[in-house]
C-alpha cells in the first residue's frame, strides 16, 4: 500500500513558493526576534546605569504591588430549593431535536453545554454535523434579541400583543391578505398552530421559503410521479452512486444522514466483504462530496445538463434530439463507462443531481427509473419533509406585496431581505405592508425592516417537535429557562389568534396525545414520559409502491439543452456557480464563531468567502491567488479575492453563499460578500448559475485566513492509499518481515489501559464535525481571522486535506514531473484527521525543560498547563504539528470579546476542562476528562470498565464512525479489532515515536482503466 505518490496541501506547497519555504522553516509564523537582539544593537547597545536602575526599581516595585493583591473571597451560593434531578458536578442529558435529528443535550447545573447525537436517531445514529454541534453556542449569543421590539424600540409583550391583535383585527376587517413566511416547517405542532391561526384569520396563508431551494426536486417528482416530495435517498443501499453537482456529504438535504449511509458502504466491513460502493462524481466546483468520490470528473456548469442527457441516451439506448458530445474527452468517456456500470448495477444504483431545475430533475428521475432505483435506493413513500419550499409562492408574495394586497406578513426563521435573489425588491415591496412581524431571534436584515419584532426562543429553551422524515417524529424539550426575554413564536401566534389553548406546551402535549403518541404505540402520561426518554417515535416504513415514469423526455431535454446553451459563457466571460458550504451553510449560522473558524472542507479558508477558480483559467486571465476581482452577473456585482482551486472546471468560478451578512451580529457582520443576488429565477425555480464577467482590481493582494499549509510535514509521507482491486489482491506479494527497530527509550508499563485510536481514512469524509465537537468539549478558544492568518488557530484536531494527481495510470514521483503538469483539474483528494498521536516515545516529552508534558501509564501524553512555562520547544519538536500555543489570554482579553469571551457565552464552557492561560501550550488530551469520568462511573457502579463506556468527543459526533477510541490491551475492544486491519498504518512510523493512533489506508474503488 506504500507508494511514492506525491501529496500536497496547497499550490504553494506544490510549487514551493519562496513564502511557503520561508514560513515552513519556522514552527511559528512570527518568530521572536532573538537574532535581531543578539546581532544588532540589542546587547551591544549601552544602557546607562541610571536607566538600568530605573528599570530594575520599577520592575521590583510593580511586581511587589501586583503581589500585594488580597486573596479573593470566593462565595458559594447553593440552590434555595434544589431540583431533585440536579446534582452539582454531574451532567444531565435530555433528549431533544435539531434539524429533525434526535439529539441529546448535555447540561451542567441547568445550563446546556454540549450537543451529542442520540444513539437511537434514525438519521445519524448518534452522529451529528458540525452545525448541530455548534448550535449550543447560539443559545448564549449576546447578539440575540433581548426582548420584544416595536418600531425599533423596546416594548413589553403585553403592549405588543394588544397592538398586534388590534392590527390583525383591522386587517381581517379590511379583507387584506396575511402571509406567514417561514423556513420549511415540518413540526406537526407548529403546523397545527399555523392552521389554527389561519382558521381565525381566513386570509392567512403559510409560505415555506428556503434560502437554498429544493423546489426542482419537489416539482420534478410531482411531474414524474404525482408526488410533490423530496424523496428519502438511501446511499447505504447503493453500490454505485453517480452524482451531478450534488454535495450530498456537505450541504445537500440531509448531509449527516447521507454521510453515515455513505460511510457504511466504505468502511472496513464493506471493504472486507467486497461490498464497497463506487462513487463517480461530475461537478464544476470542487465540493466535499466530489473530493470523496472514487472518480471525479470536472464538468462545466453549462454542460451538466448535456452530460445528463448523454447519460440518459447511453442508458436508454435512444438519442434525444439535440444531444451532442461534451467535447471533453475525459467526461465523454466517463459517461459511456458509467452508463455501462449503471446498467450492470440495476437496482443497486443511484443517480443524484444537485440542480434546482425542474427539467433536469425530471431527467434524473427518468434515469433512476430506468435503473430501477425507486423502491430500493430512492424511497418516495417515506419522503423527507426537511425542505418544502415552492419558489413560486415567494415570487407571488412579492407581487402581492407590490400590489398592496398584503396587510400583514410574518417571518419565522426566514430572512428574505438578505437571502432572496432580489433582496432590495423584496425590501421595497415589504414597505407597502401595514403589519410586518419578525419572529427571528436576531435583529437581522429582515427583522430590521419589520415594525414588530417578537423574538422566538432558541430551540434549547422551548418545547416543540419535528417530523423531518415521514414516520419519524422527534420531540424538542426545554433544557434551560429562557436566557433573554423572548417568547416562542407559536405561543405568540396562539395568543394573537385567541386560541382556546393558552400555552404552547399544552398544544404540543395535545398534538402528541391525540395523534402522534398512538403512532408509536404509546399513550397517556406514561407514553409521554417514554417519549421524553427516547426522544422520538419511529413508525415502520411504508412499503414501496411501484412507480412508473412515463413522460415524454424530448421536451425536457430541449429545455435542459437550451438552458445549458444560455449558460455557456462567451469570450471573456466565466460560468458562475453559487454554492452552500458545509460550515456556515445558507447564512443562518453566520454569527456562530465556531463555524466561522471551522476551515471550509476543501479550501480550508476560514472567516471569508472567495472566488474559486481553476489555476489554468487564472493563468489565462493573469490572475493570482489573493487578487481582488469584481464579479458582475445578473445586474449585481461584488468584489472578492481569488482562490486558485485545483479541480475546479476550467472556465468556471464558484462563490459560497451565506456570507456578507450586514445584520447577523458581531461575529458574522461583514464577513465575506453576499452571493445570493447571483441567483436567478429560471424556469420557475431559483438557480445559482450565471454568466459572469470579471474585472481585476488593483491594490494589495488579500490574504485569506487559509489553514491548508499551516502545519506542514515538509513532504514526508503521511498518506497511504490504494485501490480496492489492489487491496483485495494483497497477500500475493506480502511485505518482507518486519524491520528491526532500536529504541533509545525504555518501554512504559501499561498495567490496565492503553488508550489508542483508530481512524479510518476511507470512512472519513472530511466534514469537520469532529473539530466543532472538540471545540465544545475542550473549551477551545476562537481566535479570529487575523490570528488564523498568523497560523495561530487553536483547534486540537484538524482535518488535513491532501491533493494528489491521478494522471492516466501514472503516479507522479518526481517533483520535476509535477512541475511539468499543466492543468490541475484532475486531482484526487484525501482527508486525514490529525490530532495528538499520543506517542509512546513522544519527542515533545523529551524536550520539555519543566516536565509539563509527561507520559501516563495509560498511554496518554499528558499536558499539565499549570506547569508549562511556554518555551514552545515541544511544538518545535512535534513531528505531527499538533501542539497549540496560547498567544493571548483568549478568555479574558477584550480583543477576543467578539467570539466567546463574555458573560453569557462563557456559560457554554465545560466546567471539567481548564481554560488555558496566555503563554501555555495545549493539545489534544484524548478527552482525558471523559476517560476519568468513565472510569469513575464504573467504579461507582462497582463493575469493570467495558468497551464503549468512554467515547471521546470527536468519535461520538462522527457521522461516518471513522474514529474509534478504546483500550488496546482489551483484545475484544472495537479499537483493537480495527487496528488489526491490514490497512492500518501509523503516520511517520519510521521515526519510531510509536504513535498511538492507527490510520486505515484510504481505498479508492477505481477501475483499472482509471486508476
Amino acid at each position: 500500500m506504500e507508494s511514492n505518490k506525491k501529496y500536497w496541501k496547497g499550490l504553494e506547497e506544490l510549487n514551493k513558493t519562496p513564502e511557503f519555504v520561508e514560513l515552513n522553516k519556522h514552527e511559528f509564523a512570527e518568530p521572536i526576534p532573538i537574532e535581531e537582539v543578539l546581532s544588532g544593537t540589542g546587547l551591544m547597545g549601552k544602557t546607562p546605569r541610571r536607566n538600568f536602575l530605573k528599570t530594575v526599581g520599577f520592575g521590583i516595585g510593580a511586581v511587589t504591588l501586583a503581589a500585594c493583591q488580597k486573596t479573593p473571597v470566593h462565595k458559594s451560593i447553593p440552590y434555595l430549593i434544589k431540583p431533585e434531578e440536579v446534582t452539582p458536578g454531574v451532567a444531565n442529558y435530555y433528549v431533544s431535536s435539531y434539524d429533525g435529528q434526535a439529539i441529546l443535550v448535555k447540561t451542567r447545573e441547568g445550563r446546556p453545554i454540549k450537543i451529542e447525537g442520540n444513539p437511537g436517531d434514525v438519521l445519524g445514529q448518534g452522529g451529528v454535523s458540525a452545525q448541530v454541534q455548534a448550535s449550543v453556542l447560539d443559545l448564549y449569543d449576546t447578539n440575540r434579541l433581548k426582548g420584544p421590539m416595536q418600531d425599533g424600540g423596546d416594548t413589553a409583550w403585553s403592549s405588543l400583543d394588544s397592538f398586534v391583535k388590534a392590527e390583525l383585527a383591522a386587517i381581517k376587517a379590511s379583507g387584506k391578505q396575511i402571509r406567514l413566511v417561514t423556513a420549511s416547517i415540518n413540526s406537526p405542532s407548529t403546523l397545527g398552530v399555523i392552521a389554527a391561526f389561519a382558521a381565525q384569520y381566513p386570509t392567512a396563508k403559510h409560505i415555506n421559503y428556503d434560502a437554498v431551494s429544493y423546489t426542482g426536486i419537489i416539482q420534478a417528482n410531482q411531474n414524474s410521479f404525482g408526488k410533490a416530495v423530496v424523496p428519502h435517498y438511501r446511499f447505504d443501499r447503493a453500490d454505485l452512486i453517480v452524482g451531478f453537482g450534488c454535495d450530498f456529504l456537505g450541504s445537500w438535504l440531509s448531509s449527516a444522514e447521507y454521510t453515515r449511509q455513505y460511510a457504511s458502504k466504505r468502511n472496513e466491513e464493506a471493504i472486507e466483504s467486497k461490498k464497497m460502493s463506487r462513487h463517480v462524481h461530475f461537478e464544476s466546483g470542487m465540493s466535499l462530496t466530489g473530493s470523496n468520490a472514487d472518480v471525479r470528473i470536472p464538468v462545466k456548469i453549462s454542460q451538466q445538463g448535456l452530460a445528463l442527457v448523454n447519460l440518459y441516451n447511453e442508458i436508454s439506448g435512444t438519442t434525444l434530439p439535440g444531444s451532442k458530445k461534451l467535447g471533453n474527452n475525459v467526461a465523454d468517456n466517463a459517461i459511456t463507462l458509467v452508463a455501462k456500470e449503471l446498467l450492470a448495477a440495476k437496482g443497486r444504483a443511484l443517480v443524484v443531481c444537485g440542480s434546482n431545475d425542474v427539467a433536469t430533475q425530471v431527467l434524473v428521475n427518468a434515469i433512476n427509473s430506468l435503473l430501477g432505483s425507486y423502491g430500493t435506493t430512492i424511497d418516495l413513500d417515506n419522503p423527507s419533509n426537511k425542505y418544502k419550499g415552492n419558489d413560486a409562492d415567494i415570487i407571488a408574495l412579492v407581487e402581492e406585496m407590490k400590489r398592496g394586497d398584503v396587510g400583514a406578513v410574518m417571518f419565522l426563521d426566514a430572512n428574505p431581505v438578505y437571502d432572496f435573489y432580489q433582496s432590495s425588491a423584496f425590501a421595497d415591496a415589504l414597505k407597502k405592508v401595514r403589519l410586518k412581524v419578525s419572529f427571528n431571534q436576531y435583529n437581522d436584515e429582515t427583522a430590521a425592516q419589520c415594525n414588530i419584532v417578537a423574538p422566538n426562543h432558541n430551540y434549547l429553551e422551548s418545547w416543540g417537535d419535528e417530523n423531518v422524515l415521514e414516520g419519524y417524529y422527534t420531540i424538542i424539550q426545554p433544557t434551560i429557562n429562557p436566557v433573554y426575554d423572548t417568547r416562542k413564536a407559536e405561543q405568540s401566534l396562539l395568543i394573537w389568534s385567541d386560541n382556546a389553548v393558552k400555552d404552547y406546551y399544552t398544544f404540543v402535549r395535545n398534538t402528541w396525545n391525540t395523534s402522534l403518541l398512538p403512532k408509536g404505540g404509546l399513550a397517556g402520561q406514561g407514553g409521554w414520559e417514554t417519549l421524553l426518554q427516547n426522544g422520538f417515535i419511529k413508525v415502520a416504513d411504508k412499503p414501496a409502491t411501484p412507480v412508473a415514469f412515463n413522460r415524454d423526455i424530448n421536451g425536457v431535454a430541449q429545455t435542459i439543452l437550451s438552458q445549458g446553451a444560455k449558460l455557456a459563457a462567451g469570450e471573456g466571460k466565466l460560468e458562475l456557480q453559487v454554492y452552500e458550504n458545509n460550515t456556515i451553510g445558507n447564512g443562518k449560522y453566520a454569527n456562530n464563531p465556531w463555524l466561522q473558524e471551522l476551515p471550509e472542507a476543501i479550501s480550508k479558508v476560514t472567516w471569508d468567502n472567495f472566488v474559486a477558480i481553476s489555476p489554468k483559467t487564472a493563468e489565462d486571465l493573469k490572475l493570482e491567488e489573493g487578487d481582488l476581482i469584481k464579479i458582475t452577473a445578473n445586474n449585481y456585482s461584488t468584489e472578492l479575492p481569488v482562490l486558485l482551486q485545483p479541480g475546479q472546471a476550467q472556465g468556471t468560478i464558484s462563490i459560497a453563499v451565506g456570507y456578507g451578512r450586514t445584520k447577523a451580529g458581531k461575529v458574522g457582520d461583514m464577513v465575506g460578500k453576499n452571493a445570493y443576488p447571483f441567483v436567478s429565477l429560471t424556469n420557475g425555480s431559483f438557480q445559482g448559475n450565471a454568466v459572469a464577467s470579471i474585472e481585476k482590481l488593483g491594490g494589495d493582494k488579500i490574504i485569506l485566513a487559509q489553514t491548508q499549509t499551516h502545519h506542514s510535514y515538509e513532504g514526508r509521507d503521511v498518506i497511504r492509499e490504494t485501490t480496492l482491486q489492489e487491496y483485495l489482491k494483497r497477500g500475493e506479494d506480502k511485505e518482507s518481515e518486519k524491520k528491526e527497530t532500536y529504541d533509545l527509550w525504555n518501554d512504559y508499563d501499561r498495567p490496565q489501559y492503553d488508550w489508542v485510536m483508530a481512524i479510518d481514512l476511507n470512512a472519513c469524509t472530511g466534514c469537520g464535525a469532529c473539530v466543532v465537537a472538540c471545540n465544545a468539549e475542550n473549551n477551545i478558544p476562537v481566535v479570529g481571522r487575523d490570528e488564523v492568518r498568523r497560523r495561530r488557530e487553536m483547534h486540537w484536531i484538524r482535518i488535513d486535506r491532501y491533493y494528489s494527481f491521478d494522471e492516466k495510470g501514472k503516479t507522479v514521483t518526481e517533483e520535476k514531473e509535477i512541475n511539468k503538469l499543466e492543468d490541475l483539474d484532475h486531482v484526487s483528494v484525501t482527508y486525514q484527521p490529525m490530532l495528538c498521536q499520543h506517542c509512546d516515545h513522544a519527542p515533545c516529552e523529551t524536550v520539555c525543560p519543566v516536565l509539563a508534558t509527561t507520559h501516563s501509564s495509560e498511554g496518554l501524553n499528558q499536558m499539565t498547563y499549570n506547569r508549562c512555562v511556554g518555551t514552545r520547544y515541544c511544538a518545535n519538536n512535534c513531528p505531527y504539528k499538533v501542539r497549540r500555543f496560547n498567544w493571548f489570554n483568549y478568555w479574558n482579553d477584550s480583543r477576543f470579546e467578539n467570539y466567546i469571551q463574555n458573560d453569557y457565552t462563557e456559560l457554554v464552557l465545560n466546567p471539567d476542562v481548564t481554560t488555558r492561560f496566555r503563554g501555555v501550550m495545549e493539545k489534544c488530551s484524548m478527552c482525558v476528562q471523559r476517560i476519568q469520568a468513565g472510569k469513575l462511573n464504573a467504579k461507582l457502579q462497582k463493575r469493570p470498565l467495558v468497551d464503549g463506556d468512554i467515547k471521546v468527543a470527536c468519535q461520538q459526533t462522527c457521522p461516518a464512525n471513522a474514529i474509534i477510541f478504546g483500550n488496546k490491551l482489551d483484545p475484544n475492544s472495537q479499537v483493537s479489532k480495527a487496528l488489526k486491519s491490514e490497512r492500518t498504518y501509523y503516520v511517520l512510523e519510521e521515526l519510531n515515536v510509536k504513535p498511538g493512533i492507527g490510520y486505515q489506508t484510504k481505498v479508492r474503488n477505481r477501475l483499472p482503466t482509471e486508476a
Binding site: 486573596t71 473571597v73 470566593h74 462565595k75 458559594s76 451560593i77 447553593p78 440552590y79 434555595l80 430549593i81 434544589k82 446534582t87 452539582p88 458536578g89 454531574v90 498495567p751 490496565q752 509527561t854 501516563s856 501509564s857 495509560e858 496518554l860 499528558q862 499536558m863 499539565t864 498547563y865 499549570n866 506547569r867 471539567d912 476542562v913 481548564t914 481554560t915 488530551s925 482525558v928 476528562q929 476519568q932 472510569k935 469513575l936 464504573a938 467504579k939 461507582l940 462497582k942 463493575r943 469493570p944 470498565l945
Partner: protein, 428 residues
C-alpha cells in the same frame, strides 16, 4: 461577641423563667394537673402542634384558650375522625381549613388526661402572653449589643500607629533642635573640648572594644552572615511555599451554623446534607430545602433559623413560601482548589471510603468551619502514596492483574501504585 450574645440569650431565658413562675403562682386555678398535662403534651402533641404558632396543626394556645366547650374539645382530641364522620360543623370547619389532613386519633387518652393537657396548654399560653413585655426589653438589649467592628479596631490601630510615628518624628525634631541650640551657644573652644572628653569618658569604652574586637574576627562575622543568610533563605523558602496556602482559614459565615451541634452532638450523618459528595465532584453546601426538613419544626424561634426563612421567603406563621422574596445565601467558600486541579469527592468518599475527617479535620467539633488541611499538591501526593485503595468488593478492580500481583507480593496497593501520581489524573 458571640459569647456575649449567648450570655444575653441565657439571661433572657432566665428572665422568662422567672416571669413564668410568677405568672404560674397567679394562675394555678385550673381543674387539671398541669404537670401531668405537660408530660402528655410533650409526648403526644408536639410533633404536630406548637403553642403559639401554626405548624402541621393549629397553634394550640389560642385555639384551646378560646374554645369554651371543653366537652367537645375532649371528644375532638380523643377521636376527631368520629366527629368528622358525624359531620359535626365545627369539626368539619377545622378539617377543611387544614386541607383535610386528618389529626391522629388518641382514644387511649382518658377524659382526665385530656383535661390535664387542656389545663397545661391554657396555663402555658397565658405565661407566654405575659412574657413578651420582658422579652421586648431583652431584644432591645441584644440589638444594642454591637461590639466594635473589625474596621473600627483596625482604624484605632491605625490611629495609634500614626500617633506613634508622629511622636517619634517630633522627638527627633526636638533632639535636633536641641543640638543646634547647643552648637549655637558660643562656648570657648577649650570648654568644648573638655565637654567632648567628658562625653568620651562617660561612654563605656570596654564594651565597645569587645564588639569592635569581635567585629574584626572574620570567621565570626562570616559565621553570623552565613547564619543570617540561611535564616533568611529558609524563612523566605517556607514563606514562598506557603503562599496561597490558607490552612486555618476561618471566615465569618452569613449564618452561624455549627457543625459541632449538627454533626457532633446530634450525630447527623454528613451525607444527609452533603449528599453530593457521594455522587459527584462537589460536596456542595446543601440547598435550603434540606435545612427545612428539620427546621420547619426545630428551633423555629432562632434568629439564625429565621435567616433561612428569609432567604426562602418562607413565612413560619402561614407556612407559605413567597418565591418573590427569596434570595440566596452567599456562603463564604473555605476550601478553594485552583481551577486547574480536578478533584472529585465521590472518588474519595464513595469509592475509596475515606472519612470526611481525613481532609476536613475534626469537623464534628468545629463550631465554625476552618480549613484543616493545607490543600497543597504535596499533601495530596503524600496521601496518595500512603493510603491503600479501597478496592475490596469493587468489581472494577477485579480485572486489574497488577493489583493481584502486588497483593501476592505483599505490597500495599496505594493510589500512587494505580497511577494516582500522574499529572493527568488531576490536571486537565
Amino acid at each position: 461577641m458571640r459569647n456575649i450574645s449567648l450570655l444575653l440569650k441565657q439571661f433572657s431565658r432566665s428572665v422568662l423563667l422567672v416571669a413564668g413562675i410568677t405568672a404560674m403562682g397567679f394562675t394555678a386555678r385550673a381543674q387539671g394537673d398541669a404537670a401531668k398535662g405537660e408530660a402528655l403534651y410533650k409526648a403526644k402533641c408536639t410533633s404536630c402542634h406548637k403553642l403559639d404558632v401554626r405548624m402541621t396543626g393549629p397553634a394550640l394556645g389560642p385555639t384551646i384558650t378560646s374554645e369554651t366547650d371543653d366537652k367537645w374539645l375532649t371528644k375532638w382530641i380523643q377521636n376527631n375522625q368520629a366527629l368528622i364522620a358525624a359531620k359535626d360543623p365545627k369539626a368539619l370547619k377545622i378539617y377543611n381549613e387544614y386541607n383535610q389532613a386528618g389529626m391522629n386519633v388518641f382514644t387511649e387518652l382518658s377524659d382526665g388526661d385530656v383535661a390535664n393537657i387542656i389545663t397545661y396548654v391554657r396555663d402555658e399560653y397565658k405565661k407566654m402572653q405575659a412574657a413578651p413585655a420582658a422579652g421586648a426589653g431583652v431584644a432591645g438589649a441584644a440589638a444594642a449589643d454591637n461590639s466594635p467592628s473589625e474596621s473600627m479596631i483596625f482604624g484605632l490601630l491605625g490611629v495609634i500607629v500614626v500617633a506613634i510615628i508622629v511622636i517619634l518624628v517630633l522627638s527627633r525634631a526636638i533632639g535636633t533642635l536641641e543640638r543646634v541650640l547647643l552648637k549655637r551657644k558660643e562656648l570657648p573652644a577649650d570648654e568644648q573640648e573638655a565637654l567632648a572628653a567628658e562625653e568620651a569618658d562617660a561612654a563605656p569604652v570596654d564594651r565597645l572594644a569587645t564588639v569592635k574586637k569581635l567585629a574584626k574576627n572574620k570567621k565570626l562575622v562570616f559565621f553570623f552572615i552565613l547564619a543570617g543568610t540561611i535564616a533568611f533563605a529558609s524563612w523566605s523558602w517556607v514563606g514562598m511555599w506557603n503562599t496561597n496556602v490558607h490552612q486555618g482559614y476561618q471566615p465569618v459565615q452569613p449564618i452561624k451554623y455549627s457543625h459541632e451541634l449538627h454533626a457532633g452532638v446530634m450525630k447527623i450523618n454528613c451525607q444527609y446534607c452533603h449528599s453530593s459528595a457521594y455522587k459527584g465532584k462537589n460536596a456542595t453546601i446543601p440547598s435550603l430545602n434540606v435545612c427545612m426538613n428539620c427546621h420547619k419544626v426545630v428551633k423555629t424561634e432562632s434568629p439564625e433559623i429565621h435567616k433561612i426563612y428569609d432567604a426562602l421567603g418562607y413565612d413560619p406563621g402561614t407556612q407559605k413560601y413567597d418565591t418573590t422574596k427569596a434570595r440566596p445565601i452567599q456562603w463564604v467558600r473555605i476550601h478553594n482548589l485552583p481551577d486547574f486541579a480536578y478533584f472529585n469527592h465521590s472518588q474519595h468518599v464513595k469509592i475509596a471510603g475515606i472519612e470526611c475527617q481525613k481532609c476536613h479535620g475534626p469537623i464534628q467539633t468545629m463550631k465554625e468551619v476552618y480549613q484543616y488541611s493545607p490543600l497543597t499538591m504535596k499533601w495530596c501526593i503524600q496521601c496518595h502514596k500512603r493510603t491503600e485503595t479501597g478496592f475490596k468488593g469493587n468489581a472494577y478492580y477485579d480485572k486489574m492483574t497488577e493489583v493481584h500481583e502486588a497483593l501476592k507480593r505483599g505490597e500495599k496497593v496505594t493510589a500512587a501504585a494505580l497511577g494516582g501520581l500522574e499529572c493527568g489524573k488531576c490536571h486537565y
